[in-house]
Subunit: 228 residues, 2 copies
DNA sequence: ACCTGAACACCGTTCAAGT
DNA sequence: ACCTGAACACCGTTCAAGT
């Protein structure tokens, strides 16, 4: 990218785990998981592929480190407010992080119970407790929220990636239009529901839809509380 | 695997797309997505790797076909019952299919709106309509259910895969024990919630937990209905 | 202690050549 | 029309050898 560097072309800094992880995140953001290659990485860092293995055990560890770096930077911020508002804040933070770094989605899906994810799970769980959910139902409630948040954010990222691949200029509106039109063309007998909501789907806003889902689960949590 | 085949070692059948897909599913079930290789596949089918390309465009199409084959076989069955019961049946069908074929999870996460997924989405949506959800909320409700179902089933499959990798004999109980003990060792100040529910986590049943989440969302859907 | 870069054992995919 | 199998352009990872 930055081709402007003129004279002294010697390595400006020693290789370090941090520089490697930063470069990895850059590659991942530009070209997705398949764009992160030890050869591309070493080219960008002006080393041989073997050098990276001195600082990082393998590609899996590198992906974990990249995930940690991006996610811990994106989720610091301790919003105040009601329990529901705080849960929405965590949810939106994750949604936006995955939207900006779509490679996070499979990474988070494949290994839950990693430290950053656990912190977020705990934050959600604390607010579930603050909502007055009795102890036996807390795990179910916090899990359902977490699963929905990660799943919806991941689907959103996948849709964006598919839009970039399938449509000429990566237009989200065009993808919605195509999909919605396809639903309208389905026979009403076989797909009555899709037929009905095709128009709704065409005009929906991903972020708003995501938050509506969070609120739906929050309503369920509240509804199942003993006090009703 | 089957080394017992004696005489006539000529190819018993011509190659066909169906035979290729069946063999692909077999490889995927045994060794996961990384086990599906055009070389392994052609070895099992006693051909060259190039032959497969006559019937299948590329690996992505092969994975799609394998997903279709497994999922359409696993989700036929038109249970009767209340809308909630029917939704639970679809949910359990998907949960079990992904549990038995863990490679389905990333496949379904990466391309929603594929024909089989659309059928299931429509089935869920029909029951949402049967529950009396007003039109504007139908898409949110069905989406939330679908996202939760796919997400929870995927996490369950990922956990099972990790248990197989990390623990000596792939013991799920051992993984739960290890994880739960780790949560109890976390400091109470930083992770109050995890600390509290560690014991619950140790004893939870994945399938029951999954259904409890479905019911939680159903409760939310019901709670947000106009009639209350 | 840290880096180099050739080498190994794999991939998906293509394509001339065969039947 | 369908299959063969060598070849191409990649991978992640290792490791003797250098500094």
């Amino acid at each position: 990218m930055a081709t402007g560097a003129r004279h002294t072309d010697r390595r400006e800094d020693a290789l370090s785990r941090e520089r490697i992880v930063d470069a990895a995140v850059e590659l991942l953001d530009i070209a997705g998981e398949s764009g992160l290659t030890f050869r591309a990485l070493s080219a960008q860092l002006k080393t041989g592929p073997g050098a990276i293995y001195w600082h990082v055990a393998n590609k899996s560890e590198l992906l974990d480190a990249a995930t940690d770096a991006v996610l811990s930077a994106a989720t610091t911020g301790d919003h105040a407010g009601s329990p529901a508002e705080r849960i929405r804040a965590v949810a939106l933070g994750l949604f936006d992080a995955i939207d900006q770094h779509p490679w996070l989605a499979p990474q988070l899906a494949n290994n839950p119970w990693k430290s950053v994810t656990l912190q977020l799970f705990d934050r959600v769980g604390q607010q579930v407790q603050a909502l007055g959910v009795p102890s036996p139902a807390q795990f179910t409630s916090a899990s359902a929220l977490m699963i929905y948040i990660l799943g919806a954010a991941g689907q959103n990222a996948a849709n964006a990636a598919n839009a970039r691949t399938q449509q000429p200029d990566g237009d989200r509106a065009a993808l919605l239009e195509t999909e919605s039109a396809a639903w309208e063309r389905l026979d009403r007998a076989g797909y009555p529901f899709l037929h009905d909501i095709a128009a709704q789907f065409r005009e929906h806003d991903d972020r708003a839809q995501f938050l509506a889902g969070v609120d739906l689960i929050l309503a369920g949590i509240t509804a199942l509380r003993p006090q009703g």
